[in-house]
């Protein structure tokens, strides 16, 4: 990957590869996360993906992307660690498969959607704002109608800190935000946020650099954001009820480890043994041996120092599941796992990191992670560290785990059909 500093806080990164038949441009704006701006950041993902000054109607936007050979365009608000992130991605076919070169057009339209939104007098077009706000509210409602998603969000809110701030804004928060506030969040993000444009594909590097300068006349910015924040969560246990057919359980632990710590590979492999893989203790004990659930797993939030365990099952089985989870955790702390368990986790993690090299979004994220951590962080380095990890390092890494938040969404009664 080659890096070019466009101005202070703005960089172009070119990852040249002939592997893919498409070229992907991913423009990332990053800022520190704040409760006050969360709803605005979330809403921007709807406003900036709908249309722009040059392409004002849905029909024009659809025709634009169709005529660029089914180009895909997305804007995602994806906060990570203690930072809020807006990712704008345009993917087009590699021009080698076409009768025309569309790379410059790809840069131009990304710039038009990112830097020339449908605004007048400093505000988003009022009709667009109303429609997108409604769409965002519906989106939140739909997400929360998934009991497992809702339980994860409620647990995060109870846990606190920037993890709680990363929660999807509520429908009320979205309905309260004004056009003025949202427009201000946009201006602040574009003028102050760390800006990185990634190009992935078989491209001419010189052409990319000249298109970047031509279409992204960005100004210096001095911000520095630290994505990593070691959390210490709030102690809480909450049960709520809903008319659902399955109860959801979420348990959040402080781990004491973030991504750049030396013991992170050991903690990751431990998570493979404990709950992240189908061979793990949680899957084997709770699903396979006791038939309590269909899905159970643990997720290591590498920028936060949090481990999340989640599962869904009959309400009557929840207490037994909690007991089994705690028992498996004790096994981890006592080193009660086999050499084979450890080697399996190692094989699976190495395979997973290698596979990321064939997956465009993962590749871009791997590149971005190196950039935001300010260090060369190649996949090969993490694979080497996995290979060097031993049993005692895993036991030590897992000895610091502390349970903080338990959230249970219990089934009240099953839903009914009404003629």
């Amino acid at each position: 990957m080659k890096h070019y500093q466009i101005c202070r806080g703005c960089r172009l990164h070119i990852h040249k590869t002939e592997k893919f038949k498409e070229v992907t441009l991913a423009l990332n704006f990053m800022k520190d996360i704040s409760k006050a701006d969360r709803a605005g950041m979330f809403l921007l993902s709807f406003l900036l993906s709908d249309s722009c000054r040059a392409y004002q109607t849905k029909q024009e936007v659809q025709a634009l992307f169709d005529n660029l050979y089914g180009a895909s365009f997305s804007v995602a608000n994806d906060p990570r660690g203690s930072c809020d992130l807006l990712e704008m991605t345009v993917t087009c076919p590699d021009s080698a498969y076409l009768e025309e070169d569309i790379l410059e057009k790809q840069f131009e339209i990304l710039s038009q959607f990112a830097l020339e939104p449908r605004m007048e007098n400093g505000l988003f077009d009022e009709n667009l704002f109303r429609e997108c706000r409604l769409k965002a509210v519906e989106s939140v409602n739909m997400l929360n109608d998934d009991p497992a998603y809702y339980a994860n969000e409620r647990a995060a809110a109870l846990y606190g800190g920037s993890y709680a701030m990363r929660c999807t804004p509520s429908a009320d928060e979205l309905l309260e935000i004004s056009n003025e506030k949202c427009s201000a969040v946009y201006r602040d993000l574009v003028s102050r946020g760390n800006t990185d444009l990634f190009v992935l594909g078989n491209v001419d590097e010189g052409a990319c650099l000249s298109y970047m300068k031509k279409y992204f006349p960005l100004k210096d910015r001095d911000s520095f954001f630290n994505i990593m924040h070691l959390h210490c969560g709030r102690k809480a246990e909450v049960r709520e009820k809903k008319q659902i057919s399955q109860s959801s359980l979420v348990m959040l632990y402080d781990t004491g480890h973030v991504y750049t710590d030396d013991d992170m590979p050991a903690f990751m492999l431990g998570n493979g043994i404990f709950g992240a893989l189908p061979t793990s203790m949680l899957f084997q004990e709770i699903r396979e041996k006791n038939s309590l659930c269909y899905a159970v797993g643990s997720e290591n939030m590498i920028f936060d120092g949090i481990l999340r365990i989640s599962t869904s099952m009959e309400a009557a089985s929840i207490n037994e599941a909690v007991r089994l989870i705690e028992k498996q955790l004790e096994r981890m702390k006592n080193g009660d796992f086999s050499e084979q368990d450890m080697e399996t986790a190692r094989e699976m993690y190495i395979a997973s990191w290698r596979s990321s090299m064939d997956h465009v979004p993962s590749l871009i994220w791997d590149d971005y992670r190196s950039v935001i951590l300010g260090r060369d962080d190649p996949v090969s380095d993490m694979i080497r560290r996995f290979n060097e990890t031993n049993r005692q390092q895993i036991i030590d890494a897992w000895s610091t785990l502390a349970l903080k938040t338990v959230y249970i969404l219990e089934q009240e009664a099953s839903d009914e059909e009404v003629q």
Partner: protein, 431 residues
């Protein structure tokens, strides 16, 4: 092993029919590190009642294909998932209406071990009675999980309302009663009938040497003996043209109400190619009318006829055909009136040549995108061969189809058999 290539998309693949009849395809992707390999049988949840050439009927409980998929992971020494994991390969499976698919992904340089294991475990029935009992609880929880998903719930209800006897009116996983009824014997019989290699296909997208991959598959098949299995077809259902129910209202504790409309279309006696062409033409007309390609689409949102989450789906199969419309709206009757009126306009308008050009360009991007993903490509390749239309054939079909043919095809459908399902909010969300 026969070599094929497509100069336009710059892809090369190899095909061979193995001893025993297994069809193997190896798509060579030398620049990738990941191998994605699937082993599939065209045996899905709809095949719960089958007939052989003598007219003998084989009936199984609803959800048999799915239950069998879960249990095939069991081997004489435990769970094959563990064995794959030890090799650094991730394995999984799924059952749909039409097929059961087992697959693994591996980024190891040598995939001979997981490939042999995939062949071994799918072609070996080692299921114990105790494990069948244990699996029932897991599958009932899986069913509960889908049951509380509003989209899954409303779509299943639309199928129930549309189809009187066709098994598409049942959950893929089966009912609580059918799940509790499974025994080893039932699964073994379903396995014997539907996992014969002559019915199955193996598709491997890989950077590894194709000849070496084919050698592994060939050697594996040469070592095996497969008892003759009858040639089975899905039972033919005397499905009436009319829908079962005009309307159903469901209640769930959700914050978004929904409405879904299903149009039951006539089934035709046609070849796979004719069916694919009909589906392609009707899909193009729907894409031209019911998406932002249509200049009225924004007005429909502004005036509240649809929400930005409006969607539709078309399905034309040998024994069923339908169009489904879904939106986040509780005023289902108004939604139905609107959709019926727009369907009439869509049917009379067809598609303009300029719009068709636009959608052809979109199709080129879609196929290039597909070719970037080994796992999606292996699945699409299997579907293509099962349906008799490859991924490249499908693209060429869209490239060559005329607006006139699209108009003819869309005009062949009738919208008089429709059903509506409304999902209303209950609990505190309804207040």
């Amino acid at each position: 092993m026969k070599k094929f290539s497509d100069p336009v998309f710059r892809e090369t693949w190899y095909e061979e029919t193995m001893p025993g009849g297994l069809k193997a395809v190896v798509i060579h992707k030398p620049m990738f590190v990941t191998t994605s390999c699937l082993f599939a049988t065209p045996y899905g949840s709809l095949d719960c009642c089958q007939t052989d050439e003598q007219g003998r009927v084989y009936s199984f409980p609803k959800g048999t294909a799915h239950f069998l998929e879960h249990k095939l992971f069991e081997s004489d020494h435990g769970d094959v998932m563990d064995d794959f994991s030890r090799m650094g390969a991730s394995v999984n499976a799924y059952t749909s209406y039409e097929e059961t698919v087992y697959y693994f992904n591996s980024s190891a340089g040598d995939i001979s071990e997981p490939l042999r294991l995939l062949l071994d475990f799918v072609q070996d029935f080692s299921v114990s009675e105790q494990s069948v009992e244990r699996e029932k609880g897991i599958i009932l929880e899986e069913r509960n999980m889908y049951n509380q998903d509003p989209d899954s719930r409303i779509m299943l209800e639309v199928m129930k309302n549309m189809y009187a006897v066709h098994p598409v009116n049942e959950d893929i996983v089966g009912s609580p009663e059918s799940i509790r009824s499974f025994s080893r014997k039932i699964l073994e019989e379903a396995y014997r009938l539907n996992y014969h290699p002559s019915r199955m296909m193996l598709v491997c997208v890989t950077p590894c040497d194709p000849a070496a991959i084919m050698d592994i598959i060939r050697t594996s098949q040469q070592c095996r003996h497969f008892a003759e299995a009858p040639v089975l077809k899905r039972a033919v259902y005397a499905e009436p043209a009319a829908v079962v129910k005009d309307k159903t209202v469901l209640h769930m504790d959700v914050s978004c109400g929904k409405s879904a409309i299903g149009f039951k279309l006539a089934v035709r006696d046609e070849s796979a190619y004719e069916r694919a062409l009909r589906e392609c033409c009707i899909k193009l007309c729907l894409d031209a009318w019911f998406t932002a390609v249509n200049p009225d689409y924004q007005n429909w949102i502004d005036e509240g006829y649809i929400t930005p989450y409006f969607s539709y789906d078309l399905e034309i199969e040998e024994d069923r055909a339908n169009i489904l419309f879904l939106d986040e709206k509780e005023d289902g009757e108004a939604f139905r009136s609107f959709i019926i009126s727009q369907m009439e306009k869509c049917i009379s308008s067809g598609i303009r040549e300029q719009t068709l050009d636009q959608l052809r360009k979109r199709a080129l991007g879609s196929i290039l995108h597909l070719l970037n993903s080994p796992s999606d490509l292996s699945a699409a390749w299997f579907h293509g061969i099962s349906d008799g239309i490859s991924v490249f054939d499908e693209f060429r079909m869209i490239s060559r189809v005329s607006a006139e043919t699209c108009l003819k095809m869309i005009r062949s459908i009738h919208t008089d058999a429709s059903t509506l399902v409304i999902l209303r909010k209950t609990g505190k969300n309804a207040e």
